[in-house]
Amino acid sequence: MKALPHPLSPEVRPLTLRDLGWLTASLAIVIAPHALRAPWWLTLLTLCLYGWRFYSMLSRAPLPSRWLVIAVAFIGMLGVWMEYRTLFGRQPGVILLMLFSGLKLLESRHHRDGAVAAFLGYFLIITNFLYTQSIPTALAMGVGVFAITATLVGFSAPQRAPRANLRTAGLLLTHAAPAALVLFLLFPRVQGPLWGLPQDAYAGMTGLSDTMSPGNLSQLALSDAIAFRAAFEGESPPQPLRYWRGPVLWDFDGRTWSSGQGYLVNFQPPQGGRATYQYSVVLEPHNHYWLFALETAAALPERSRITQDGQILSFAPVRSRLRYDMSSVIDPAREPRENRGTLGRALRLPADYNKRTVALANEWRAAGGSDVDMLNRGIAFLIKGRFTYTLEPPLLGRDSVDEFLFDSKAGFCEHFSSAFTVLMRAAGVPARVVTGYQGGDLNPVDRIITVRQSDAHAWTEVFLAGRGWVRVDPTAAAMPTRVDGGLAQALPQTQALPLLMRPELEWLRGARYRWEALAHKWNIWVLGYSPERQRDLMLSLGMRDADWQKLTAVLFTFLGAMTIALLAWSLRRLARPDPVQKAWQIFCRKLASRGVVRAPHEGPRDYSARAARALPGSRRAILRIGALYIALRYGTSTNRPSTARLRRLVRELRPT
């Protein structure tokens, strides 16, 4: 006999309008963030493919041929190549995947294709996390998971009401949650990556760079993006002490400062100092080696090194959020000596640049005095110079320092530090530029200091014989409010500030603080869950040196227990008998005790009739129970007698 097609097999069940609607809606949720990132024409093309599929469903037009689909795919790939000049980067790959979701939809005839498209939807969700893993993204993608799951449930129960399918999807995800939590905590984590990542994998990270030229810090200062967060044990340092040291720049070519060659040294803990701060930093990825720390580091974090000029470097570029513990000491005794080569480098200036500045410094030097005098003269020059602090400095030409000091007199911290360092070098005082962050916002909710890119700062360090390298902040000298009150205080009211730094939006900042505190917890506990954290957790659970075998064993024990619990739950729900059935069974038992046993084949009508004949004393009650049971069990849903009545009758039955 010829086998009929299996009616449950997804290959033969055609996609209905309802299925298509669910599928398209859930795919739309998960591609929405990509659609905003993709080139407009590709978003439009993808939406057209979705629309095309709907059109052919509604008008019962045949789906386009395979060749046409391939042609559209080819055109899309060509377009992406023209846009990015590659198909294999992160961005082009993700965007092509979005296009393929439309192509898959266009060739979906049966539930099987639909399910493949749904799985592609799950995959598209994870590609969103390549860009951001924030709480809003997680929530939006949670909705996406729910919608895709409901779509899959709809495929396997086409006749069911969509609300029931939504409920089933919710139930499935609820039941999945404990297993997901256990897997998340216990699944042996491997430190990625497993293979080389595409060139643009870390594109779009903002932060300091190892060069500084006029204009790039003020650009960075317009960004609200978070650089890092620091949680202090006990008191946090006051605003003027919060100098977060980053890259040190030595070499000046007349316009741009760069860090040049450095070398690693053995870490020597500093002696003395006013106060020590213990804190942990959660650094946002910036794709460089620097770790930021308060001046001056008293200990190095794990997996890090230090250079001769005090930059703390991690072993690998920071490409994912990194948490490290630090301790810093304020004003320690400094190393008073420095080798000659380094001092020579700290005096070097390019010839034929910034002649007016060099001439001024030579004047000071000629007038005589120590290095400290030079320093004081320089600071006095800045204070008296009536400089303007601005986020929109005028463009500077070849001799940028000259133009800033003598003509425009308006600039951002990079102008001040650059000009001051040049002045000092020209006056014969070894000096270098230090970039990093100054300040940071103390969140009153969780006492965590958030440092944003808008806190980016540059200052100068000069070497004074007998005192070592000393920090001088020329910006603070010229504009004392910058350091005391932050950027918002230092800038004139008319200048555009990042929205959240505006003082008049106090309530907005309150909400922001709360949100930040939540986001920080999210970063630490969800996103920052790393192999190290997993080890710590296992240690706190009393499992020393948890290797992957042990973790797997624990994991499978948990999962097994969970499945059994789930099974027990479903059994318990099943075992709970129907009250009508239960009453009937009691009835049968009561009659059986009087010798009237129900035969397996005997229906309720025959049985109650026979029992009524055998037990004439309870005839009426027996017949009424039989009739009630039949009506409750087999009757139509309208006009049902009450279950309670049946139960009462059965309870009161004393067969005689």
Partner: protein
């Protein structure tokens, strides 16, 4: 291959399947009887999970891990839900009306949810005939399955093994269970259309009073008897009065027709004889005569109506002489 082996050794099959057919009364699908394996789609789902996992490791995506593990947990929950969709369901059988050989027996099964949740998309498939039906069983309710099973030969047709299968809710697992309820359908011999035999042979008893029984000759009305064919009820008269009346035809009461095995041509084979007799029973019932049936060892007294017809056909269906 395994199926062939199990067919030859039913005891092994019974041990594997956990029950001995046929099963009387209501069959409850206990967990032990529900089997579950991933479908092709399930393997595809597993592949998707593997890709998601590798992607999460490679890009160190915490939320990627969370998604992967959520979906893995969902697969696990989906497995339990799929098994639950069948487990503890009760299967009982309904009456199957007799059919003639060559027709299809309509077996009725009742699926009782016995649960507070509905059990959607359950496939009931009769294994031998591949007759199948997909249905939803409502929460705490019953659903009826009708399986049309071809009945090639007369006699009792047992239902045989029925598979209940579901892939709800995700389609990534397939759970199934076998039941073999004690249901059977009576199959009458395939009726052969032929002229009724002459009733003359019984004249020796003197029973035949009318030499020419004219069925079309209307002779009056009489009170309805249970055995009367509805064809002969005087519906117009019933509509006028409250009593059921039957049209009486000339000689009807008197005509008695014996459908006799012994009077068939001796060269006919057993089945041919039974077919011929079955055809006669139908013809006799249609023409409204009183008819009786004689088989070796069986005699059914003349009578008329549905009960007579059923009794005669049953005797023919179950005849097991030579």
């Amino acid at each position: 291959m395994i199926n062939a082996l199990l067919d030859r050794h039913p005891r092994i099959a019974n041990w594997i399947y956990g029950f001995t057919p046929p099963e009387r009364g209501t069959v409850t699908l206990v967990h032990r009887r529900v089997y579950i394996v991933p479908t092709q789609l399930g393997w595809l789902f597993a592949l998707t999970l593997a890709i998601l996992l590798v992607g999460s490791i490679n890009y160190a995506l915490s939320l990627g891990f969370a998604l992967t593990f959520l979906l893995a947990g969902m697969g696990l929950a989906g497995m339990v839900h799929t098994a639950r969709n069948l487990a503890r369901m009760a299967v009982s059988v309904g009456r199957a009306e007799p059919v003639f050989a060559g027709e299809a027996a309509q077996f009725r099964l009742y699926l009782d949810a016995r649960a507070a949740f509905d059990r959607p998309a359950i496939l009931a498939r009769h294994l031998r005939s591949r007759s199948q039906m997909v249905l939803d069983v409502p929460a705490a309710g019953l659903a009826e399955v009708v399986l049309a099973v071809p009945a090639p030969a007369r006699g009792w047709l047992p239902l045989g093994r029925v598979m209940l299968e579901t892939r709800f809710p995700l389609g990534i697992f397939r759970a199934w269970s076998y039941v073999e309820p004690d249901a059977r359908c009576l199959v009458y011999p395939r009726p052969e259309r032929s002229m009724l035999p002459a009733p003359a042979a019984e004249s020796s008893r003197g029973a035949l009073r009318s030499p020419t029984p004219g069925n079309d000759d209307y002779s009056g009305l009489r009170a309805y008897q249970l055995s009367d064919s509805p064809r002969h009820v005087a519906w117009k008269a019933v509509a006028r009065s409250e009593d059921m009346l039957t049209k009486q035809f000339m000689g009807e009461a008197a005509a008695e027709l014996w459908l006799d095995w012994a009077r068939l041509a001796p060269q006919l084979a057993v089945e041919q004889r039974l077919s011929r007799l079955a055809g006669w029973v139908l013809e006799a019932e249609r023409s409204g005569v009183q008819y009786g049936l004689r088989l070796p060892g069986v005699e059914i007294a003349p009578g008329r109506g549905e009960l007579q017809r059923a009794a005669c056909l049953q005797a023919l269906a179950l005849y097991n002489g030579t």
